[in-house]
Each structure stands twice: as structure tokens, then as C-alpha cells.
């Protein structure tokens, strides 16, 4: 059981309060949507949850079965899909996946790789030997999803996961997130998409300051 607890978290940038104090708890087995207008701090909240950023005040505590997760022990159990996440532009899709997943000790054989591409609806002949820098934004988004699925992470932090995806892609995201939550993963997504918000079990609304 993984939980992320926000305890009186306030976040400021350059003296401007983005949100807070925020009290919330995310738990595995649920999809939680983070909503709010642009600039309300949705992406910041995900970075705080991932411990990629320290809060200005308060604390973000991640636990697994009552044991605190920090540093490497947290990173190994976490995966993110965010617009800021980029692939190496001069490596192919396969090379990018082999590198990032390899760092987690995961190796994909050819069958698993093809199955993963099918699952995220990426055609192999389209990406083939092309470098990731040549992909469309939608293809890159699907590749991010493929890495997330293959990572086996039990904390999913998704920032606007449906952005740049067609209708089929958005349905795919909702389907995979629901399945992940049903399998006991913690899923948190920042979104402004009403369908994605409706598909969540709970929502944190950031009003902004």
C-alpha cells in the first residue's frame, strides 16, 4: 500500500504563493485528478509528490506499507508522464526505452517490445529506425506511456497525459490508468480535460491565488 501525504504544503515561486496550505492524501488503488486553471500549480503538485521539488512550507511524505520512501527508494517505484519529460533526440525509440528501462534493471526482449508498441498503438514501421527527435508530439506521448507501462512502477504521476493525443489515445490513457489503479497502483493525473476528471475516483482542485 503506497500513500503520498501532503501535510500543510504551501508552494511559492519568487514570493508568489501558487497554492496552499494543502492537506491531501493519495493512496494506491485510486485514480486522483488534480484540476485547476493554468498556473494553479497542478504540475508543481506532481513534482512535489515525486520529490523532484521541495515545498516552501509543509511536507510531502511518501510511504509504502508504513515505511517512508525517499531518494532512490522512491524513484525506483515511480514513473512520470509530463510534457517536460523528453527522450534523447538522437536515439531511436528502442534505444531510448532500453536505456531508461535498463537503468531500472528491466530488459525488453523483441516480443515484449512489440507487444508494448501494440499496447500503446504505436506502429513499429512508423518509428522503426527513426530518432525520437523526429517523432510527432503524439508519438512521443505514446512512447512515454510505453516506458511508464514497462517500468512496472506503482506510483504513476501523469501531467496532462491526454495532451497531443487523438481520441483513441485519450481513451487509451483512461483505460490504462483505470487498469493500473485496479491492479493496486497509485495514479495521480493533472488535467483540465473533463473526461479525464470524470474518470478519476477523486479530485484535488487547486483554486490558485
Amino acid at each position: 500500500m503506497v500513500t503520498i501525504r501532503f501535510e500543510a504544503v504551501t508552494q511559492c515561486f519568487h514570493g508568489r504563493t501558487i497554492f496552499g496550505p494543502l492537506q491531501a492524501e493519495l493512496a494506491s488503488g485510486r485514480v486522483v485528478a488534480v484540476t485547476g486553471q493554468n498556473g494553479s500549480g497542478k504540475s508543481t503538485l506532481l513534482k512535489l509528490a515525486a520529490h523532484l521539488l521541495l515545498p516552501t512550507a509543509g511536507s510531502v511524505v511518501v510511504t509504502a506499507d508504513g515505511r517512508a520512501l525517499k531518494g532512490d527508494s522512491l524513484r525506483r517505484r515511480m514513473a512520470m508522464v509530463t510534457p517536460e519529460l523528453r527522450f534523447y533526440p538522437r536515439l531511436t525509440a528502442r534505444e531510448n526505452m532500453d536505456f531508461l528501462l535498463g537503468l531500472r534493471g528491466i530488459t525488453l526482449d523483441e516480443i515484449a517490445y512489440r507487444a508494448l508498441l501494440n499496447r500503446v498503438e504505436l506502429r513499429e514501421q512508423e518509428i522503426g529506425t527513426a530518432f525520437a527527435g523526429e517523432f510527432s508530439t503524439g508519438m512521443r506521448q505514446r512512447l512515454k506511456l510505453a516506458v511508464l507501462l514497462a517500468s512496472g512502477a506503482d506510483i504513476w504521476l501523469l501531467d496532462e497525459p491526454g495532451a497531443n493525443l487523438d481520441m483513441a489515445g485519450r481513451k487509451l490513457i483512461v483505460r490504462e490508468a483505470r487498469q493500473a489503479a485496479d491492479e493496486g497502483r497509485l495514479v495521480c493525473w493533472a488535467t483540465n480535460d473533463e473526461r479525464e476528471e470524470a474518470a478519476a475516483d477523486a479530485a484535488i482542485h487547486l483554486a490558485g491565488h
Binding site: L52, G71, R75, M80, T82, E84, L85, F87, Y88, G102
Partner: protein, 223 residues
């Protein structure tokens, strides 16, 4: 699934090598700087002879400043293309640091292997103790790689990244630079090379590697 540090180091090194060979910017910047400087010095000398100590200083100036043109890119390139976040999420701190350090060391060794014979040839240098020169070059490259990787990590994201890198790099690398000049001069026939200098360089390299390893976790993990 737990990844061993060594496997991670190999992955980071291989990724750096593949990306570096496909982009070539760091390689080209370093080699072109070294070649241009060497050509200028060689033409200015017009066959004249230099003191071994001056020759040694020239060799290390070329290697050091050429490294400044390339070694700072190990993290800056990740920051520029936006891949640093993916690396932070998926990579373990020590694997990333050591993989990048190993790659910078490899880059420096390639540079030294390319430049030193040309330097010897064009400036008509007599190498009296080749073994000592090889040892000094390896330890010097090791020091530049260790210090360069740590300083590059520290300065990533700064607006004046390149200037800051050069400013911070000089005091950190001086304890490698000075004995390297002295020992290289000895290998060119300019006096005795104190073996304690060589041991000192090795020790300082080790301190840099251990220091970088201890500090890097604080840079990599925010908690």
C-alpha cells in the same frame, strides 16, 4: 528489479558514447580547440626550441582549455534538450555520475592520444621518459574528468553556465595541473620527476571521485 551500479554505469557510458558520436559537437569543439591552439603555437615557434617546463605548460594548457570546451556538456546537453528529468526519474545518482565521469575520462584520453603525438612532432619534443608521460596524462585526464563532471553537475541550469564552469574548474583542478606540468617537464628531460608528485596526483584524483560521489546524491535527490 534492482539494477547493479556497474550495469547502470555501462548504460550511461554507452548512451553518452552513442549520442556523442551521432551529434559530435563536444568532440568537434574539443578537438578543434586543441588543434587550432597547437597549430598556432607550432607556427609561432617556427622550429625554435622551448624549455621542457614551458613545453609541458603548453601541453597542459591545450588539454585543459580543450576540456573546458567539451567536458561541461555532460549535464548541460541533457538540460538543453530536456532529457535531464527522464534521467533523474529513471537513473540512480551514482550510476549517472560515474557513467558520465567515465565517458569524460574516455573523451579526455582520446583527446590526449590525438594531441600529444602531434604536439611532440610539431614542436620537436624529445620524450626521455615516455612511461612517466603516459602515467601523468592518464592521471591528469582522470582529474579533469572527475572535477569536470562534478562542476558540470553543479553549474547545470545556471544562466551563465559556461563562465561559471570555467571559474569553478580552475581552483579545483590546480592541484592536478601543477604537478602534471612538473612531471611532464621531467618526461621531456627537464629535471627529475618526483614520484611523490605522481602519487599526489593519484590521491587527489581519488579524493575528487569520492568527493563527487558523496556530493552528487544531494544534487540528484531533493529529499
Amino acid at each position: 528489479m534492482q539494477q547493479s551500479i556497474w550495469q547502470g554505469i555501462k548504460l550511461v557510458f554507452r548512451k553518452e558514447l552513442v549520442a556523442g558520436l551521432r551529434f559530435k559537437a563536444a568532440w568537434a569543439a574539443m578537438l578543434m580547440f586543441a588543434l587550432t591552439t597547437l597549430a598556432c603555437v607550432s607556427m609561432a615557434m617556427q622550429g625554435g626550441m622551448l624549455e621542457p617546463r614551458l613545453l609541458a605548460a603548453l601541453l597542459w594548457i591545450i588539454l585543459f582549455f580543450a576540456s573546458l570546451a567539451g567536458a561541461d556538456r555532460v549535464f548541460a546537453d541533457e538540460d538543453t534538450v530536456g532529457t535531464l528529468l527522464a534521467l533523474r526519474i529513471y537513473g540512480r545518482s551514482q550510476a549517472v555520475l560515474m557513467g558520465k565521469m567515465l565517458y569524460t575520462f574516455f573523451l579526455m584520453v582520446v583527446l590526449a592520444t590525438f594531441i600529444t603525438p602531434l604536439f611532440v612532432l610539431l614542436l620537436d619534443v624529445t620524450v626521455t621518459v615516455p612511461g612517466l608521460l603516459v602515467g601523468v596524462l592518464l592521471l591528469g585526464c582522470g582529474g579533469i574528468a572527475a572535477a569536470g563532471t562534478l562542476v558540470a553537475a553543479l553549474t547545470t541550469g545556471a544562466n551563465i553556465h559556461s563562465s561559471l564552469f570555467s571559474i569553478l574548474m580552475l581552483p579545483v583542478i590546480l592541484p592536478v595541473f601543477l604537478p602534471a606540468i612538473s612531471l611532464s617537464a621531467a618526461s621531456f628531460g627537464g629535471g627529475e620527476g618526483a614520484i611523490s608528485y605522481l602519487a599526489g596526483m593519484g590521491l587527489y584524483d581519488l579524493i575528487l571521485v569520492v568527493g563527487a560521489s558523496l556530493l552528487f546524491d544531494y544534487l540528484w535527490y531533493e529529499d
